[in-house]
């Protein structure tokens, strides 16, 4: 069986595991969905009204029946109805997903634009002051929690520049590209900071490996200019670990950045799930976790395929 087919065949199994884990664990949280949805007004409901609401959201059945029904729906693309929003879960998720996707893409762009040149520079100036400076900065970047960076950015913007980034209502890119970028640039820098630090470290270490290879020595011996050797001969070969790392990080970011979304009050997928857990919105938690896990698996598969495409020596799945 081909590598792709073998990997794809494990997806349903992993997603089934994720669905079982999320479905049953969320039901262990104390409190019920209807009380969480209506708050104190839930006390005003008659037993018949409560029963009708439970039946509408499908939470009146034994838990295994609920799971079976939900799973049957999932297979047909129906993730259920959100108790909080009163709408299909998939539509709520797809409404929040563009922000998460854009934030992840922007963070990755920042990380790659800053990390790759920094890593290359550090490798070409190995053990010189600029290399040490970059290595220290990268280590600091990897050690700084996102909320420290985020709060620092907000502090500098508000205290030094007297401007606070727009928070709360999200402006989609299509509606107003400038306002959208203005809203997402600081959260993206916050997330991109540690990401760039990781890219810098891996790019440096990979470049150092490649710069010691015979073909680089040959290129130098043939008189290729130093700049060309670094950027045209070495860098493409050193990018494979960078692609892997970036892909995995991107996969994580697609799961939503709960803390950064919280700091910048962004309505992304992470906060959606966090709020849904708090509101005992079973269908929404189940749906969003499954959606995130699915994206994570797909991105990881694409990373592996890109890995093989970038390096023809790698044949996935062969021993």
């Amino acid at each position: 069986m081909s590598y792709l087919a073998r990997r794809l065949s494990t997806f349903p199994l992993i997603l089934l595991g994720v669905s079982v884990l999320v479905f049953f664990s969320i039901r262990l949280i104390p409190g019920d969905a209807i009380t969480a949805m209506l708050g104190t007004e839930a006390g005003l409901l008659t037993p018949a009204q409560r029963q009708a609401l439970a039946a509408y959201f499908g939470i009146d059945q034994p838990v295994f029946v609920q799971y079976g029904r939900w799973l049957a729906g999932v297979v047909q693309g129906d993730l259920g109805i959100s108790v909080t929003y009163g709408r299909p879960v998939l539509s709520v998720i797809l409404e929040r997903f563009p922000l998460t996707l854009e934030l992840a893409l922007l963070s990755m762009l920042i990380a790659l634009c800053a990390g790759i040149p920094a890593g290359v520079l550090a490798a070409t100036r190995n053990e010189r002051p600029s290399d040490l400076g970059i290595r220290i900065a990268a280590m600091l970047g990897q050690s700084t929690p996102s909320f420290v960076i985020g709060l620092l950015i907000i502090y500098v913007l508000s205290v030094v520049f007297g401007a606070v980034p727009a928070m709360g209502v999200f402006t989609p890119f299509r509606a107003d590209p400038l306002a959208n970028l203005g809203q997402l640039i600081f959260p993206a820098i916050t997330l991109g900071f540690a990401f760039a630090a990781s890219v810098t470290r891996i790019a440096r270490s990979s470049m150092l490996d490649v710069l010691n290879e015979d073909f680089i020595r040959t290129a130098r011996a043939k008189g290729a200019p130093a700049r060309s050797v670094v950027w045209h001969h070495a860098l493409p070969n050193a990018l494979i670990p960078v692609v892997t790392l970036s892909g995995v990080e991107f996969g994580y970011l697609l799961g939503g950045a709960v803390i950064v979304e919280q700091i910048f009050a962004l309505p992304g997928l992470g906060r959606l799930t966090l709020d849904a857990i708090g509101q005992r919105d079973y269908a929404l938690v189940q749906g969003s976790v499954l959606f995130i896990a699915f994206n994570f698996l797909i991105v990881n598969l694409l990373v592996d395929l890109a890995y093989a495409a970038l390096d023809p020596r790698i044949r996935l799945g062969r021993r």
Binding site: T10, L13, I14, L15, G17, V18, L21, V22, S25, I26, L28, I29, P30, M139, L140, Q142, S143, T144, P145, S146, F147, V148, L151, L152, I154, Y155, S158, V159, S205, L208, D209, Y252, G255, G256, V258, I259, Q262, I263, G270, T273, L274, I277, G278, V285, V289, I292, A293, F296, L297
Partner: protein, 279 residues
């Protein structure tokens, strides 16, 4: 002893070890109650005081001493990080070891279970566990341990697969060594190096995760001090009292940096390939 010398001879190892020892010392003082002030006592008259001779790192909204709270907070973070990584390393190593050793369907089942945990977004998994059990120190330990178990399982399974085919394992079998003896004496001892590096780096991640959970209000509960919680409380006071943001932020960053530097040094020392690269 040789290992300690090697770590101290490594620049990153030296700085990392110094930071960890300093933090351990501060945490110990905090645990023994040897803080400049009572970390939960509210000096109402001295609310939001900037750093001074009396309060080296200033006071918070309730007039509590920031330094004393940081010292206790470091201890709290260390306890959670060490306990969760210890549990994750134990559970993950056992799972990885058995999966690699038995192979076949047991390997498939165990590693697919680990894949499920890996595909589950880490912070959301931790949040779900906390929502079920309720926030607190033990819950944070359990949540972080569950999140990091699959990573240890993967780190151990790979080398176990290759080690079990080595001649010395066959020799041990020929001599009649029991399976338990081979696993604990021959395999596990050979895995100490990669595990040690992974544990040190995981400590840095655990500190990061713990701070994040506390920041969201889901870790250590007030009035007990915690670094993430202190940052979260300082959010709305950043204009009047920036020190409340700066000191806990720097403390978290430096602590994580310490473990990262130490872990890097260990990896360089224990893995000759990276040693060549960084030297």
């Amino acid at each position: 002893m040789a290992m300690l010398k090697a770590i101290l001879a490594h620049p990153s190892g030296r700085i990392g070890a110094a930071i960890i020892v300093l933090y351990a010392f501060l945490a110990l003082l905090g645990a023994l109650g040897l803080t400049p002030h009572d970390p939960v006592q509210q000096f109402r008259i001295d609310r939001l005081k900037p750093p001074s001779a009396t309060y080296w790192m200033g006071t918070d909204l309730f007039g509590r001493d920031t330094l004393s709270r940081l010292m206790v907070g470091i201890g709290q973070s260390f306890v959670i990080a060490f306990a969760s990584v210890g549990l994750a390393a134990l559970a993950g190593s056992l799972i990885g070891l058995f999966a690699g050793w038995w192979g076949g369907w047991a390997d498939g089942v165990l590693m697919r279970m680990m894949d499920v945990l890996l595909a589950f977004p880490a912070i959301l998994l931790a949040l779900l566990i906390i929502a079920i059990v309720g926030p607190g120190t033990f819950t944070s330990v359990a949540a972080i341990a569950i999140v990091y178990t699959p990573i240890f399982a993967r780190v151990v399974r790979g080398p176990t697969l290759s080690l079990k085919r080595r001649d010395f394992v066959d020799a041990a079998r020929t001599f009649g060594s029991s399976q338990t003896y081979i696993l604990s004496r021959h395999l596990l001892l050979n895995l100490v190096a990669p595990l040690t590096v992974q544990v040190t780096l995981a400590l840095a991640w655990a500190l990061l995760t713990e701070a994040g959970l506390s920041f969201l209000g889901l870790g250590t509960q007030p009035p007990a001090p915690s670094l993430g919680l202190m940052m979260s409380e300082a959010r709305n006071l950043m204009q009047q009292a920036p020190w409340l943001l700066a000191f806990p932020g720097l403390t978290i960053m430096l602590g994580i940096l310490g473990f990262n530097l130490f872990g890097d040094a260990l990896r360089d020392i224990l893995d000759p390939r990276t040693q060549e690269r960084s030297s």
